[in-house]
Symmetry: C2
Subunit: 329 residues, 2 copies
Amino acid sequence: MTAPALPVFDDITEAATRINGLAVRTPLLESHILNERVSGRVLIKPENLQRMGAFKFRGAYNMISRLDKEHWPGGVTTCSSGNHAQGVAEAARLCGLPAAIVMPADAPALKLERTRRAGAEVITYDRDTEDREAIAARIAEERGALFVPPYNSPDIIAGQGTLGLELMLDAAERGAEPGAVLVPCGGGGLVSGVALAVKHFRDAAEVWAVEPENFDDLARSLKSGRRETNSSQSGSICDALLAPTPGELTFQIIRRLLSGALTVSDDDAREAIRFAFEELKLVVEPGGAVALAALLSGRFAVNGGTVAIVLSGGNIDRADFAGILSGKG
Amino acid sequence: MTAPALPVFDDITEAATRINGLAVRTPLLESHILNERVSGRVLIKPENLQRMGAFKFRGAYNMISRLDKEHWPGGVTTCSSGNHAQGVAEAARLCGLPAAIVMPADAPALKLERTRRAGAEVITYDRDTEDREAIAARIAEERGALFVPPYNSPDIIAGQGTLGLELMLDAAERGAEPGAVLVPCGGGGLVSGVALAVKHFRDAAEVWAVEPENFDDLARSLKSGRRETNSSQSGSICDALLAPTPGELTFQIIRRLLSGALTVSDDDAREAIRFAFEELKLVVEPGGAVALAALLSGRFAVNGGTVAIVLSGGNIDRADFAGILSGKG
């Protein structure tokens, strides 16, 4: 088998046509309070408002809608901490395909429930002791189901890239030129797709990944030049960003296009969630809040410039959110 | 003194020009989950994303930006449960005028704090025993400050009407024709302005006000044909909607243009807040959630049609929100 070709900008425009009318074309928001707080202009891309509450539907639908149903009697399968799970379940439902999804037993209840509600079969596993990809691979083989990778696929990367396309078009429409774009990063599907789109429009714009502390596999990979691995797969509230290592394809794009990777702590993420609640009136999950956290914590200085950030998801349990609001989370 | 002329549609387009670039042009959102839940198409106008977290900045800035500063050495004053307060404080700050705001002592702490943070002087009163308009009138006279009415003014109504203008333009752009528009209602400034805009574009569209149970002064006024009064001024979680009676001007417009007024309970509002958290990823305050509550509770049946709702504000204290999420609020 030859390695799949890396996606290019045209794949993103084709993906945009495919998802049109089914994915939410999320708006670009601005908050004068956030602008004042960080001394600059911040363009906010709220993917918590996306179908299923996270950006993942973009890539999942882009890939699944292209399948030849006859070839995959078992439909699709994947492994995911919850947002990709929901995106795949919903895309499969819309395409009339069954979906079997491998999810960690400790995933937020909301994510488990919403994946089931979208019609998928959910198989749970232990994040620390079991290999989720092996479980999904076995299901794929037994059922004749296509494995939909969480990030390491040209179709997935191109689908997530539609977010960057919209961001740059909407920024231009309001006369704003982002000098930097900050993107939450797990396996790198979103940030690599967004980088392809952003650099197409404005090569001088910097693209940065933001990772949770202790899950900085990308930051270390960029330093060493090879794909490094996180020592643990649990232990951060940013449950959406705990992929063990950058994807092979995503890392090739990231190496070429990114300015670097930033790290924020769980407390930074909590503070960003409270800020989004109080000042933006948006519900953001921990992993979705890390780019905002990088600004608020001062880890990335705006310095009078224009910066775009992605709020990548909003799927958080009621009790966890209430706990964070109370300062107990 | 002659009675002020009622605002007309052209006043709304002029207001839109005045607030352009300072107010947020809030997007029009849609949720496939909400659409499925109510069996129809719902266009959501999220004014919780507006500057200061509620629609009120529109009217306040429209009025205050037109003032001749020389005539008002004391700047502006008003009375408000909190959202109008913030709108006036912020508009005065942007126009370089002092603001003195009369607010109930039991207003949400967030509203009190944010009004002060916008640079206003806050004077608190007891909602049940003191007359807030009398206090504000005294301040106006003593200081030479203009009283900015919460709703009963052509400038305020026209400013709030810009929301309806945006809603109809954005609905048309996506090929949607709302058969009905549901708007949270306290004194009626928002719903009367929105009705002027909606009816200009589509006379057949129904406009409905939504009030909290036991604060249904408008519903009763529409029945009796004269402005009725609420028996209490506290006792609902919908703190933003407890105005004692419809405004004289707003009621003239409402009588002519509205299809009626709906009522929802505090529990309906709580349920709508939880739905907005979980499915829309939006932070909505109780009074801001009543139009959504009217749909979710079945008090307004969508019946396969297209309906627009306004989420009029999102200023709610952390503890109150956490309490509602936990089912204890």
